[in-house]
């Protein structure tokens, strides 16, 4: 399936990893896929998402505000624990990213996809097939997010009152052009 991804779609998948790492998440969720799509500013799907008010930095801020991270630095501060200080010490001993590396000594740089995020990628394939597209573009991933319909990415959309059928139409139009 991955070989059918366009370079933008691949970049979104790789970028989701980066987004998850930046937010100190143990899993790549739908919200990280959304952020990765938004990070590709020149792309047609990012432009379509931006028309609905979805831009990278503000969405990242919203997601941080949900406080769903397993490791919430702000919450730990209420107990007098400075997560950054803990991270610095752990990394000094065990190397960069050690605290986010749940899988001990296994592949250091790999954050696994959540089942829901995996589902989104599967659905992006189906969206591509439904549109009779030979390749899976980043726009299909965006459509996959909408099709999946749950997860934090959708919570962002709902909380902002975004008209998802309209967004779907916009993304589809962008893909066809």
């Amino acid at each position: 399936m991955f070989e059918r991804f366009t370079s933008e779609a691949r970049q979104a998948v790789v970028g989701a990893q980066e987004e998850a790492r930046r937010l100190h998440a143990a899993r790549i969720g739908t919200e990280h896929l959304l952020l990765a799509l938004l990070a590709q500013e020149g792309s047609a799907s990012a432009a379509a998402l931006a028309r609905h008010g979805l831009v990278h930095d503000s969405v990242a801020e919203t997601i941080r505000g949900y406080g769903t991270a397993d490791l919430d630095a702000e919450a730990l501060t209420t107990l007098g624990i400075d997560l950054d200080a803990v991270r610095d010490r752990v990394e000094a001993t065990f190397g960069p990213g050690a605290l986010e590396r749940v899988s001990g000594r296994a592949a250091a740089d790999h954050i696994p996809f959540s089942p829901r995020a995996k589902k989104v990628l599967e659905l992006s394939l189906r969206e591509a097939i439904a549109m009779k597209s030979k390749s899976i573009a980043d726009g299909h991933i965006a459509l996959g997010l909408l099709r999946e319909g749950e997860g934090l990415a959708m919570k962002v959309l709902h909380d902002r009152g975004i008209d998802t059928p309209e967004l779907r139409r916009d993304l589809t139009t962008a893909l066809r052009s």
Partner: protein
């Protein structure tokens, strides 16, 4: 980072959201530190018995958690 005033009020508030989130984060932190330390001990040749003793749990408990076939810290050999 939140400003200190906000943090101080959060700490003194009785809002369960804040307290529970802190507990969850603390639990996650403990789990991750434990995995790192157990992995390090195994790398240095410690037995499950020795690790369990330091953690204050049974050998079976630590073995079950970290030595299973699909576990993160299984031996490569």
């Amino acid at each position: 980072m939140a400003d200190t005033g906000q943090v101080a009020s959060a700490a003194s508030s009785k809002d369960p959201t804040v307290g529970l989130r802190a507990v969850r984060s603390l639990r996650t932190l403990v789990e991750r530190l434990e995995a790192l330390q157990v992995g390090n001990a195994r790398d240095q040749g410690w037995t499950w018995e020795q690790i369990a003793q330091q953690l204050g749990v049974t050998r079976q408990a630590v073995h079950k958690k970290y030595a299973s076939g699909r576990g993160p810290l299984r031996r490569r050999d």
